[in-house]
């Protein structure tokens, strides 16, 4: 009981202190330059009331979900394949290692050139941001499967398809989950970047658009919403991970 109370009270206290400090600091500057939390809350209410906020949240979430799902659908099978076939991995690894350090944002000029302004460049950037963590986690998860699992499968005469679906995929799953988790974070960060650069809608666009009107309070409102949604997605992911971890017998 006491434990739970401190668990809530400590972070709540920090947040409150942060808001108070912010409020006092903001008093020293004009609101166009540094809006106070009260201004930001008012801005959120305003954006929510006229529908802009909900509209942009919806678009951003749809884009994020679409691009993330696409990345997962491509990266997991590819990772399973490359993890299983060492020679293929040796062949492809240098290419992946060169492409991976390139920030997805660096692809933006090409993405706009290829796909035009709109949904596609943003989706492409989120896709890239989610793709590499999932791919690399899947490869290493497959390679980390204890040899004894495969020995048992061979010993009992399991056919390759059965070994793949019933042993390799579930054995790699907790490791893949780590990649999915990391990818959610990087993809969400790049969502805003992608929308700021190439889109005409979404939370990222909302922030850029607010800058054009010098509505600093809307900028901060957008940032705050991005942060809160990011936290919610991350928490949701962790809950799923926990359930799966229990089911897979890796955590208790």
């Amino acid at each position: 009981m006491r434990e739970n109370l401190t668990k809530i009270a400590l972070p709540a206290g920090t947040l409150l202190a942060f808001a108070v400090l912010w409020q006092f600091a903001a008093r020293r500057y004009p609101p166009e330059q540094f809006p106070a939390p009260s201004d930001v809350v008012r801005a959120i209410a305003e954006l929510a009331a006229n529908g802009t906020l909900w509209n942009n949240i919806g678009i951003s979430l749809a884009r994020f979900t679409g691009a993330y799902t696409l990345a997962v659908i491509v990266a997991i099978p590819l990772g399973l394949f490359l993890g299983r076939f060492v020679r293929c991995h040796q062949a492809v690894d240098p290419l992946v290692q060169v492409l991976r350090p390139i920030s997805p944002i660096a692809w933006f000029p090409l993405a706009v050139l290829w796909f035009g302004i709109g949904n596609a460049p943003a989706v492409f950037i989120i896709f890239l941001a989610a793709f590499y963590p999932v791919l690399l986690a899947t490869i290493s998860a497959v390679r980390a499967i204890p040899p004894v699992y495969l020995k048992v499968a061979t010993n009992f005469g399991a056919k390759p398809v059965m070994t793949f679906l019933r042993v390799i995929v579930p054995a790699a799953f907790p490791g893949i989950m780590v990649g999915l988790h990391i990818a959610v974070g990087t993809a969400w960060i790049h969502l805003v970047a992608g929308e700021m650069l190439g889109a005409q809608s979404g939370l990222g666009f909302m922030i850029v658009d607010a800058r054009n009107f010098l509505r600093t309070d809307w900028i901060m409102a957008g940032m705050l919403v991005v942060g809160i949604l990011g936290l919610a997605i991350y928490r949701g992911m962790r809950a799923i991970e926990h359930v799966i971890g229990r089911r897979w017998g890796v955590s208790q």
Binding site: A153, N155, G157, R166, P170, G249, V250
Partner: protein, 267 residues
């Protein structure tokens, strides 16, 4: 009980295994092994580390290929792992995402046995190892001894004619180990598979085996094959047991001494 009257199940003739090291030098792991194991026999392989006993059981189970010599089960050369010859590992090899029952079902499903029959056989195997009440639990909820019972049940469910056991009880505490030794003997006397049991524990070898194959390192070879002419169930404190134990210990000590000397020279 004499092994002469029984059918030869596993035979090794001039079996060798060598590896090429990084510098291109050949390292002989097993040298000139000749051995015959009869159907239904319980044979223990013992020896100090580096004597190649694990390599040998991996050759027998078909996980590795010999570099030379003939290795046969039922008169056929061993070319690959076979569902009729099941290996039991020290670290159990259970799938942690499956329940106890699903783990035991795995081998039956690999053989495409119809679901109803598979379930029946899996439950029977689990009953044999005394795990009927734990079938819906997952491996992480089980003790080491229970995990090894699941692995044994998984093997028994497919009714193999040979069980290869690679130090299966080495990771268990002493009490559980003694208990599982008795369980294994009970199952063996009931089902009569051929058992090849690798251990580094001499007492375990004498308690379990009809024959004990003592191996020596540098290069890995068979030093001596000792018949254990004691009736089951064996009494660990009986005079005969103690005499055999002393004999084997002396032999083992000799082998061990050679191994120590050899490593000193090679440095």
């Amino acid at each position: 009980m004499s092994s002469g009257k029984r059918l030869v199940k596993i035979s090794l003739a001039g079996v060798e295994k060598w590896f090429r090291s990084g510098r291109g030098q050949e390292q002989i792991v097993l040298s000139q092994l000749d051995l015959e194991i009869c159907a239904g026999e319980f044979v223990c392989l013992v020896g100090p580390s580096g004597c190649g006993k694990t390599t040998l059981i991996n050759l027998l189970a078909g996980f590795e290929r010999p570099s030379a010599g003939i290795l046969e089960i039922d008169g056929r050369p061993i070319t690959a792992p076979d569902p009729d010859h099941i290996m039991i590992f020290q670290d159990y090899g259970l799938y942690p995402w499956k329940t106890v029952l699903s783990n035991v079902l795995f081998g039956l499903q690999a053989r495409r046995i119809p679901a109803a029959e598979a379930r029946e056989r899996a439950l029977a195997a689990l009953e044999l190892v005394g795990l009927t009440s734990s079938i819906q639990r997952r491996p992480f909820e089980l003790s080491g001894g229970m995990k090894q019972r699941v692995a044994i049940a998984r093997a028994l469910a497919v009714e193999p004619s040979v069980l290869f056991m690679d130090e299966p009880f080495a990771a268990l505490d002493a009490f559980t180990r003694l208990h599982l030794q008795d369980e294994l003997l009970r199952i063996w006397s009931e089902k009569r598979p051929t058992v090849v049991f690798v251990t580094h524990d001499l007492d375990e070898a004498i308690y379990l085996g009809e024959r004990v194959v003592l191996m020596a390192p540098n290069p890995g070879r068979i030093q001596r094959v000792i018949d254990i002419d004691l009736a089951y169930p064996r009494e660990r404190t009986s005079d005969d047991f103690v005499v055999l134990r002393r004999k084997l210990f002396e032999e083992f000590h000799l082998v061990h001494q050679q191994a120590v000397n050899a490593t000193e020279y090679s440095i």
